[in-house]
Amino acid sequence: MRIQRFTLALALLLLAAAVYAVFDFKLYPASSAPEKTVTLLLKSKNIRTDYWQTVSAGAEAAAKEAGASLDIEGPLQETDADAQAELLEAAIDREPQAIVIAPIDDDRIAQSLQRARDAGIKLVVIDTPSKLKPAPVSVSNNHQEAGRQAGLAAARATKGNPYVAIVSDFPDSVVSAEREKGILEAVSSDPAHNAGTYYAEDAEEKAYALVKRVLARKPGLNAVLALNEPAALGAAKALKEAEVTNRVTLIGFDSSIYQIKLLEDGSLKAIVVQKPFNLGYLGVKSALRLIDGQKVKSTYIDSLIVTKDNMYTPENQKLLFPFNQK
């Protein structure tokens, strides 16, 4: 009778295996098809904002690679904190497994993020830091390193003897502060090299006026570092008018068609460009790792310095001229 019992046991075991297989079979596609859900919340979803469109493209690439489903949301205006807060609340209600957000600097966003965290949604902050404490995992451009590269380029252009004016936007801007810090790291904050930081408040005219004034006041000035696009455009205009384009090195940040044109005609010596595709890609990738339960460290993405000579190499073309699907 022992053998018979063995046979019976074997049969039962096989039946159990079959039942398990059925169970697994039913469960597997259910858990794998809509497996991971990630919502990406941008500062702007406007298709005219090349930067955010490229971030989206990177995020989509990461989602496709992992077979995850990705929702991309964002207000039309980069400064529309109300709209972003609303979108964030709506996203939390949909209960995705992770939210990747480029937060607009606003208290409501931080509160909503706290709510998301309480709901067990994984958070990844990209581009700009959030006010949420303790800080969630972040993927951001290394602005300080970008500033340092710009400073080094200025030092190279002035043969190691730079006298630098920095045109920033607002004193309380986090990104600009970090860039400035990096520049001063490379150039030194010695008054012999540092002609001071000026705040142009995102206005081209103001930057133009400021640079004009600085040029008059500090004749030895040989480099202007414009921390954002309006500053660069205003500074370039001022330098052109004063006909000191060749003597004063102008270095800008971020790419836009206007800055590219200035780079082509030599008004800008170099621009420091970020890698938004990588930002989106690594942001979503970090979120997917968090969903998997892995430990994820915050990531910094280095920027690239582009000059007139190397702006049309295949790599840099991709960065300067984002090719986005319309």
Binding site: Q4, K318, F321, Q325
Partner: protein
């Protein structure tokens, strides 16, 4: 060396037919199914891989054809420009066109280009640059980018170097027109003079990159599969994750792709997963590569899993069925076995149940019959043994019949009182001899001589007791003397003859005892001329005497008969003839038994 060799034992000693059958069935089923599903698995994996490779190849061929058709189209446009007289004349070095004449030329050429452009959405721009410094585009008023020198553009230089052959560029940003930065693929070609030798300028057609991008993006190679394009030297022309590759966040298997020929495919298996690469060459140097992930090929896994699931279920069910079947098959055998074990223990009153009349049913029936037979035989043996013992006991009683002894001793005493010394001696010695013969217990069967002596002594004593009332004759043939007979065979009959036949008769009686041999037997006859018996009396003698009265000294005739039969066989025994007032004759037949 010596090995202690026992009988060869099977690896798994199986205790019942059922287990053997179920194990055999299970093994058979398992092995068959395992082999079948393994083969099936292999075949289907191969088939799926083959199919998907074929599918990808087909898709990539389609992409190839489409891209090829775009390029062919650009080529045709360039041929159109090349053969257009206006274009030729306009850029020709030796044509003397005045400023005033230039405008209509430019207008005609521009109109031509524009009409082409209207029909083709995929073309971004068409331009011609003469080495004489003139240029025309599809736009009426075109200002060139002052910061971009035409002569330095790669497409311009390459066309010049190729000398008349068309050149396809990698995707790039076309910055030659002021304020325009478009991603395009350029086809450029040097235009020759009418003489076919002198080069006059460079012709340019730009294809919108979005056309190729859309094409590659729309290709569905599973959830994660994608298409990418490399040029002859392995530079990436198009890749959905080009930026990641530039940032070294991703690598692509470029080396394998560049060495692969058109239509080749290969498999890559790393931590990103197993995937198939299919390569197609275009005739202008690009290689179009399709990548499909093995895990993506829908239906592949679930179908296999389904078939394995069904197999496993089948195995389980068949195992259960085999257990059930073998149980049913062996149950009657086990019942029979149980019954046999009871019989073994001595219980013959059992009967095994007979189900169907198959082999096992027949076996059961035969077994039942056998048990019945054995039961009867056992009964018989038990009875026989019982009778034999009873006979022996009665014989013993006969030998030492106490009445006989008292009477004889009384007679001796009486004779002694009468001073008949001779008679006393004679009787006493006869009695002694009689008892000695009786006491010799060692042998059941004795020589006939001894039996004769015994009966002679007995009759001597009886004769002395009954004197004139009893006469006797002994007539034994000499031929029977060598044979043997049962001990004290004749005494009971003689005793009966005296006590029942002669004693109650008024006149004296005679007992005649004869012994002779027939052809194959020895016959003794004890005959008296006494009272005889009626038919009824005779019949009663043969009845079994359940409780023979020892006082009457009678040994049952029946018992003696039985003793003879038990000893010598059923064909021997006793016959009695008797007639009322005439006498009785008992004849005893025994076989000739030599020493």
């Amino acid at each position: 060396m010596y090995f202690a060799r026992g009988p060869l034992r099977p690896l798994f000693p199986l205790k019942s037919i059922q287990s053997s059958i179920s194990v055999a069935f299970s093994c058979l089923i398992l092995v068959t199914i395992a082999v079948t599903s393994l083969i099936q698995f292999r075949l289907s994996v191969d088939a799926v891989e083959k199919n998907s490779r074929g599918y990808i190849e087909e898709v990539i061929k389609q992409v190839n054809t489409n891209i090829q058709s775009y390029v062919d189209n650009m080529e045709n446009i360039s041929l159109l420009a090349m053969t257009n007289k206006d274009v030729k004349y306009y850029i020709s070095n030796n044509s003397f066109i005045s400023e005033e004449e230039r405008r209509p030329y430019e207008k005609r050429i521009s109109d031509l280009f524009q009409s082409i452009l209207y029909t083709r959405k995929d073309i971004a721009s068409i331009m011609v640059f003469g080495y004489n410094g003139r240029f025309v585009s599809d736009r009426r008023i075109t200002s060139l980018n002052p910061n971009a020198k035409v002569e330095e553009q790669p497409w311009y230089r390459n066309a010049k170097n190729e000398g008349g052959k068309s050149v396809i560029s990698a995707p790039h940003v076309q910055n030659i027109i002021q304020n325009e930065y478009r991603w395009v693929v350029s086809l450029s070609r040097e235009l020759k003079n009418t003489d076919g030798i002198t080069a006059d300028g460079v012709f340019l057609v730009d294809l919108n990159l979005s056309v190729i991008n859309d094409l590659a993006r729309q290709i569905n190679l599973g959830k994660k599969g994608y298409v990418f394009i490399v040029d002859e030297s392995g530079n990436i022309v198009y890749h959905p994750q080009q930026q990641l590759i530039y940032s070294s966040l991703r690598t692509e298997h470029i080396a394998e792709v560049t060495t692969a020929g058109s239509g080749d495919s290969f498999t890559v298996d790393d931590d990103e997963g197993r995937r198939f690469y299919t390569v197609q060459d275009t005739n202008f140097g690009w290689k179009i590569v399709g990548v499909a992930y093995a895990g993506d090929l829908i239906g592949y896994k679930s179908t296999l899993r389904n078939s394995i699931l069904i197999t496993v279920c089948g195995v389980a069910v068949s195992l259960l069925v085999s257990v059930f079947l073998s149980h049913r098959l062996s149950r009657p055998i086990r019942n029979l076995q149980k019954t046999m074990r009871m019989v073994e223990k001595g219980n013959f009153d059992v009967k095994t149940e007979i189900g169907q009349m198959n082999e096992i049913g027949q076996l059961g029936r035969t077994f039942n019959m056998m048990v019945g037979q054995i039961k009867n035989l056992m009964q018989e043996i038990i009875e026989t043994q019982e009778n034999k013992r009873k006979g022996e006991l009665q014989l013993l009683q006969a030998q030492i019949n106490p009445h006989f002894l008292y009477n004889t001793l009384d007679s001796i005493v009486w004779m002694a009182e009468q001073q008949k010394h001779e008679e006393v001696v004679l009787m006493t010695s006869a009695l002694a001899k009689l008892f000695r013969a009786s006491i010799t217990k060692d042998q059941e069967i004795v020589p006939i001589r001894v039996e004769i002596e015994h009966i002679a002594n007995y009759l001597l004593i009886q004769k002395m007791r009954y004197a004139d009332k009893l006469n006797y004759e002994l007539a034994f043939s000499d031929e029977i003397l060598p044979y043997r007979t049962l001990k004290i065979l004749l005494q009971p009959f003689v005793e009966n003859a005296i006590y029942h036949g002669i004693r109650n008769k008024p006149e004296p009686g005679t007992v005649t005892i004869r012994g002779y041999a027939t052809a194959d037997a020895v016959v003794f006859e004890v005959e008296d001329d006494g009272l005889g018996m009626t038919e009824v009396q005779l019949a009663r003698i043969w009845e079994r005497q359940v409780n023979p009265d020892p006082g009457k000294g009678g040994i049952g005739i029946h018992n003696v008969n039985e003793r003879i039969r038990l000893f010598f066989g059923p064909e021997y025994g006793i016959r009695i003839r008797s007639e009322l007032a005439e006498g009785t004759c008992v004849s005893i037949t025994i076989p000739k038994v030599l020493d």
